[in-house]
């Protein structure tokens, strides 16, 4: 029996006062690797942002972070740990050790001193994940982490996320339009269907994915 980190019950999300999706119910357990899918504008990012606001242990990595040159990968990870660093942007000795471990765990320690403008999109995505690990996130949210990535980098990032869940017990929720690769990496699927109904399942993942294409289907909430 997996330890439940967060129980979401009857959550309604919306934008500028207009509800996008209501009746959202699902559990986030330790080690879960959850794929969140749905059409553009269905409310995936809004849901992730709503979850971020629930606890400081929930860390979200947005999509499309500009790769500003003039910073090494390690400096970027430190910058991402804004609340943990002192006024000069330095981490404590303990957090520096956590940072080194995170880089090692994600397989990017060999490029720690490389300028981020020279990194591939996949490596840069992993740097963002490393900063979330240093922030000791128990639940990690990624908004379309595989967008703009080629097949090789897409699989590498998804594999890293799954290894993170299996290895350290961190729960990961990632939104994606890449249904095939995302399904392979996930242990659970959540979808905001074409009918605006939220569904989630560990057992019938394909059925839940199918709901984003079908209208007028009965609810099957977990």
């Amino acid at each position: 029996m997996k330890e439940t980190l967060l129980k979401i019950r009857d959550l309604t999300i919306g934008h500028k006062g207009k509800p996008l999706c209501s009746g959202i119910c699902f559990d986030i357990c330790k080690g879960d690797c959850i794929m969140l899918c749905g059409a553009n504008g269905s409310g995936k990012t809004t849901l992730l942002k709503a979850l971020t606001a629930m606890s400081e242990d929930i860390v979200m990595i947005p999509t499309g972070i500009p790769k500003t040159g003039g910073f090494t990968l390690k400096e970027f990870v430190r910058i991402g740990c804004y609340r943990q660093t002192d006024m000069g942007g330095r981490l404590s000795v303990q957090d520096e050790k956590t940072l080194d471990n995170a880089l090692h765990q994600l397989g990017i320690s060999h490029i720690a001193d490389q300028d981020i403008s020279t990194l591939s999109d996949g490596e840069f995505q992993k740097a963002g994940i490393a900063s979330a690990l240093v922030r000791k996130a128990s639940i990690l949210l990624l908004d379309e982490p595989t967008a703009f990535l080629d097949a090789e980098n897409r699989i590498a990032v998804l594999r890293t996320l799954r290894e993170l869940c299996d290895g350290s017990g961190t729960a990961v929720i990632f939104s994606t339009h890449d249904l095939h690769d995302g399904r392979n990496a996930a242990t659970k699927v959540c979808a905001i269907g074409a009918d605006g109904i939220f569904r989630s399942s560990e057992d019938d993942m394909d059925g839940v994915i199918g709901s984003i294409f079908r209208r007028n289907e009965t609810r099957n909430r977990k």
Binding site: T52, V59, M60, I61, P62, G64, I65, P66, T68, G69, G70, F71, E75, F76, I79, G80, C81, Y82, R83, T85, M87, G88, G89, D113, S131, R135
Partner: protein
């Protein structure tokens, strides 16, 4: 290897600055104490402080607007300061154009422009649109200054014309101390928010998700810009381009965008550029206004930046 590069860049910068300061102090020939303390030293110190103030303002504006061409001059903040200084000089008469009231009026003018820029900056998604807005704002403010010129007396107009050409030689020691105070306060604000200036370079969404208050970072950076630009513009005239060029040279020399390095490096580079412009003005056969020298030196570098890193 990076620390060795930083050490070399730092020592080189200090040496260049020291040579420039000595050259600027002694370029007239005579080393008479009276001439030195009353004329040359105030001029050199003014150039140093004005360059540092404008460059540090430019570095902060480039970061908060994530725009390599942002600086107080282009974004209309200097124009706002000019309007404030013009109002103080023309309405208050020649006596008002020399002290803290001018600096205060210039600060208020700069702050008004900066607040307008800040208010519209979130509406423009493209960097070029904000630049164009800043340029247009500058035109409008300069048009108001022109109207003021028509309504003032000949004496105030003469003072305003010589001020608008830019000069480091008209500052008195009390004015220099006001500028020094502005640079100290502005630098302190900038250095205290260096961590925020770093994270804002990676976008508002990333910064806010990491727990940074982007509005507060922008406000404190603009406050610092207004204090420094207001003082420099009030006493030296509307000087442009040092604010754009200096941060780029600093980043290239030190090979980093981290503000803990970029801010002090920009301060030093701005001072070097400003004293260099003053030296060129002094050594030229005919008197050349500082604003023109700055433009002649700065604009080719800006054009080079545009070609290398197009933003339009």
């Amino acid at each position: 290897m990076k620390s060795r590069r930083n050490t070399i860049a730092c020592i080189s910068g200090i040496c260049i600055l020291a040579v420039m300061v000595i050259a600027d102090l002694f370029c007239g020939g005579s080393a008479d104490f009276e001439i030195m303390s009353r004329l040359r030293a105030p001029r050199t110190v003014t150039a140093l402080l004005a360059g540092a103030a404008l460059a540090l303002s430019g570095a902060q504006m480039q970061s908060i607007f994530r725009n390599p061409l942002a600086d107080p001059h282009i974004m209309g903040v200097s124009a706002g300061a000019s309007l404030g200084a013009a109002v103080a000089t023309m309405v208050g008469g020649p006596a008002a154009g020399s002290g803290i009231s001018t600096a205060l009026a210039a600060f208020i003018g700069a702050a008004c422009s900066a607040m307008i820029i800040l208010a519209v900056s979130r509406k423009f998604r493209h960097a070029a649109t904000l630049l164009i807005f800043g340029i247009m704002l500058g035109f409008i403010v300069n048009a108001i200054v022109s109207i003021l010129q028509f309504t003032t007396d000949a004496e105030s107009l003469k003072i305003f014309y010589s001020w608008s050409a830019g000069s480091f030689s008209t500052s008195t020691w009390p004015q220099i101390f006001i500028m020094l105070g502005a640079v100290i306060i502005g630098s302190a604000i900038a250095f205290s928010s260096r961590k925020g200036l770093d994270i804002i370079l990676f976008g508002d969404e990333f910064a806010e998700m990491a727990g940074a208050d982007t509005s507060r970072i922008r406000l404190s950076a603009l406050m610092s810009c207004c204090i420094m630009t207001g003082a420099a513009t009030a006493f030296c005239g509307p000087l442009g381009f040092a604010g754009i060029v200096a941060p780029h040279i600093a980043r290239a020399a030190f090979g980093t965008s981290a503000h803990r390095t970029v801010l002090p490096a920009t301060l030093m580079t701005g001072a070097i550029i400003s004293i260099g412009a003053d030296l060129i003005s002094q050594l030229s056969p005919a008197p050349v206004p500082i604003a023109s020298t700055m433009a002649l030196v700065g604009i080719p570098i800006i054009l080079y930046i545009l070609i290398k890193k197009p933003v339009l």
